[in-house]
Amino acid sequence: MTKSALVIGGGIAGIQASLDLADRDIHVYLVEKDPTIGGKMCRLDKTFPTNDCSACILSPKMADCAGHPNITVMSYSEVVKVDGEAGDFKVTVKKKPRYVKLKECTGCGDCVAKCPTKNIPDQFEYGLTTRKAIYIPHAQAVPRVALIDPNYCKMILNGKCGICEKTCKKGAINYADKEEEEVLEVGSIIAAVGFQLWDAGYATEYGYGRYDNVVTSMEYERMMCASGPDHGHIKCPSNGEAPQKIAFIQCCGSRSEKKNWKKYCSSVCCMYATKQAIITKEHAQVQEDIFFMDIRSYGKEFEAYIKRAQGQYGIIMHRGARVSNVEEDPETKKLTINYTDKDGNGTSAEYDLVVLSIGLNPPEGAEELAKVLGIGLNEYGFCETSVFKPLETTRPGILVSGAFSAPKDIPTTVAESSGASAKAGAYIVDENFEPCAPKQYPAEKDVAGKEPRVGVWVCECGINIGATVDVPSVAAYAGTLPHVVYATKTMYACAQDTLQAISAAIKEHDLNRVVVASCTPRTHEPLFRIACREGGLNQYLFNMANIRDQCSWIHMHEPEAATKKAKDLVRMAIAKACLLEPLEGAKIPVTQKAAVIGGGITGMTTALDIAAQGFEVHLVEREGQLGGQALNFRHKENGVDTLEFVKGLIDKVNSNNLIKVHLNAKVKDIPGFVGNFNLQLEDGTDEPVGAVIFAVGAPAYKPTEYNYGSDAKVMTGLECEQAIADGKFNKKNVAFIQCVGSRNESVGYCSRVCCTTALRNAIQIKLADPTANVTIFHKDIRTYGFREEMYRKASEVGVRFLRYDEEAPLPAYDGNTVTAFDLTLGADVSVPVDCVVLSNGIAPAREEKEELAKMVKVPISKDGFYFEAHQKLRPVDFATEGVYVAGLAHWPKHMDECIAQGSGAASRALTIISKKFLTSEGIVASVNEDYCDGCGVCEGCCEYKAITIVSKDGKLKSNVNAGLCKGCGCCVAACPSGAMEQKGFKNIQIQAEIDACLDYPVGGE
């Protein structure tokens, strides 16, 4: 019998891992210790660097998890025992008592309103507000079900009260609820238990807990959030007034040897603090200062974000400033920060509010969980992994993803989680594998010939829409429009409760059209369509009005005009909705094979993970051998030679019967579409594949600086590594120059890997010859995560660091000395050298990428790397279905990150190619044969050869192959007789939008 998979942890890591497994038709148990899934991400206000609303992008995934037929969410439960071995685990899960029946509770909140036991600190809000003894964790909770806190409930404690039981009309209260145990049989386990926040109580020097106006970054996140305790109005805790000056103190709890502080870098704080500063500026005019040692903006488009914070938002950055202490004026409660300014002068400044950028710790209970699972932890208490096996714990069959293995950001977590699910799936899929049956929806109601009855939901999206657009008036206006029988506003349209309300309203009000005015259909349409299906309505009878991305967000300072525009957009959406028709997608066969372009570490990992689940892979490498850039590496990772690892990987690929390697191969074209591409190589190879993965990497930047190539003293970081490995490095006076080819005017981004590479080499040089003088010229040192250990070690062995101004040109070099203005000393410093090592960055190789990009129509980012579907939550997907990206082709990154992402791309591709059929979009072209006279204009303009002219009863007529039609609608605009139509975008539907826009005055009234 086919086994299920187990995912432990219901944050974004666990959610993504579960969804990928479920979409690969594997059943998943998702065990979460809290009463709701969503983890830390659902507590965040916005996410960097796109400033997307965190709840908005996470809610669809949470709802997806709750509604997915292949996922069993076990909230408020913990894993207590694991027996067996990989492929055959027996896992005991303990369900904590909720005292509320999960299946009965509708989340109406009547019980909460009546509960007399108040003033219990609300953990979801980090104690910033209080809750009652019976409570619903938060508005977007999944499952949205109440629970009773037995430590406070008077009925449970001493049998006196019982009000909630009397209040609940569903009879969902059960005071006698008991802890239960259940044994699950699973083939593999993913530990995605995340992290916990560092306890700011240890930061006594900053006065947390003693000074009213010192808060942690997570508390501040809730203070900023529209759904937080103050509805997004930032107030000083001491007096409730809006702060005028805010200071952010970085590395609170991180990068320190102080007692109870952590040595490692928490990886995300620089970016989240900058995000908080930017968002705060959008709320109000405030002075904001960020105090930091190094700014670690190493991720995709992070550097540009920091620049924007400084340039556009005027946020003041204090570089190299570790704040020693914070003092409070006991009367005014204002806070004084003492620091050293950029000229080296001791100075102090007063602030109304201080935000501590606290770091990430191993998750609560990590040690017990490690014992239960039988896995190892590293010296920092996080899950033990290695560079070459970033997703594997020390026990076979148990995988790890997200912050449990190291502090990391959301996109890295999502890619890893996909990757872990590919690996977990391999333990479950065998020759007897039985995929889960597809989900059954209620029968769809017949709407033919019926008057439209439209239901309209207008979303406030916290304050994302509500702060600019007058949502109640838009909802009220919608209610006055023809055919609208139900119109309401909602806090979050994408939250589980609203989705359920939509499904219910379809029945209750006999709706036959649904309109949601909220964000963009590009991300949220699928979610609402499912809600329609759940309510027994064809999913194509749904329409969206984009009043956030294309209205409230771009007209923030014009609330009145934005409200009028929102009303127009809603009216247009309703007008079109009234004319929508039910549609069915075509069932298209899928070629159950994949093509991986690029045979480096990333591509080989992807190929192996796809093959591990039994599918054929074509691996295309343009060089004469596999291995890519890593063949040049000569260093060790976790004691293993990189070269040895790469060779091992090549052997595995070559000996795998399912992987066909194409060497010296150049891609000619990749025509086709999801499930049905053709991989065409210049040697004439033409192979059908269902999915394509771009793992083409990116080359090292070839320096033109410092007479590289003509001055024998000058070498690149890689050449230095090779010389050291060959024992040929014997220089005494070595200067490393960082950011050569990165962070300058033409290449704005940080290449992410160069700091670590330079430090590794510098340490090697000093260890081999302690008398060598090694100086690193840098702007920031970006050894994020556990790589910080290298920075500490380099300092320990005597490597010198010289920080120069980030705006200054590269250090000067005259053939004998390297000179730069040392910011710490405040003077020019010249260092004699007999070797200059250039930390040359990673170049995007845009032209090469563009060639491939054009074949499958995917975009390139402004920095020249591939541009994924969504920077935060779809890091390896493209907007074009069936095409994925991984490794350096996506952004510069370390080997472990490439490997994890390679597995991630494999998992995403598996969700397509593991199925024999996929259902196409319903928005295809169709012919009205009464009007068609077979002229053939449409045939000529169809790029997909979906249209043919056929003879019917002796007359020529156009014929559309719905499986081939991609629904562009080009033929419709070309048809001279009006015979061609595009379903879902019919002429009358588009005209209705135009008319609804212009037949009314602006704003409709």
Binding site: T50, N51, D52, E282, T520, P521, R522, N546, R548, D549, Q550, C551, W553, I554, H555, M556, H557, E558, A561, A562, K564, K565, D568, L569, M572, A853, K854, K857, P859, I860, S861, K862, F867, A879, T880, I923, C941, E943, Y944, K966, G967, C968, G969, C970, V972, A973, A974, Q982, F985, N987, I990, Q991, E993, I994, D995, C997, L998, D999, V1002
Partner: protein
């Protein structure tokens, strides 16, 4: 004419320009409120009749935004849109209608800034041209 607020209908293709418009929102790039977006899957879906209908209903300007040349999600739809709009502009001109009121522009999914710039410039153009000479509807 100082308080003339033009009404502009903007057709965006789903894959590039609509995503670019969303991108402008994500980056909080501010711009005038004068335009209303109608989403089509491809710029080639925009029938010249749609444009004429908008003008006849009183639109002061119509914009069609598509993927950059060679980047069309549907291979060559944007080339067709380009040809159709070029012809339509000629027809408009022949009927004495200022073709500057009809604009075709390329905006990719990652070009929020270009979307903002395109909108701002077109609103300025239409403001300079003044209200549409066409009488609204059948008034």
């Amino acid at each position: 004419m100082a308080d003339f607020e033009p009404r502009i209908v903007t057709f965006c293709c789903n894959w590039c320009s609509y995503a670019g418009a969303d991108g402008a929102g994500v980056a909080r790039l501010q711009m005038p409120t004068n335009f209303r977006i109608i989403r089509t899957m491809c710029s080639a879906r925009v029938d010249p009749e749609h444009v004429l209908r908008a003008f006849s209903k009183g639109a002061d300007g119509v914009m069609i935004l598509g993927c950059h040349p060679a980047d069309c999600h549907y291979i060559g739809g944007n080339y067709r849109a380009r040809r159709r709009i070029a012809l339509l502009r000629m027809v408009l001109e022949q009927y004495g209608f200022d073709p500057r009121r009809l604009k075709l522009e390329w905006v990719s999914a990652s070009e929020g800034e270009k979307f903002q710039k395109t909108i701002c410039e077109f609103v300025d153009t239409i403001k300079a041209l003044g209200p549409t000479p066409l009488v609204k509807g059948d008034e």
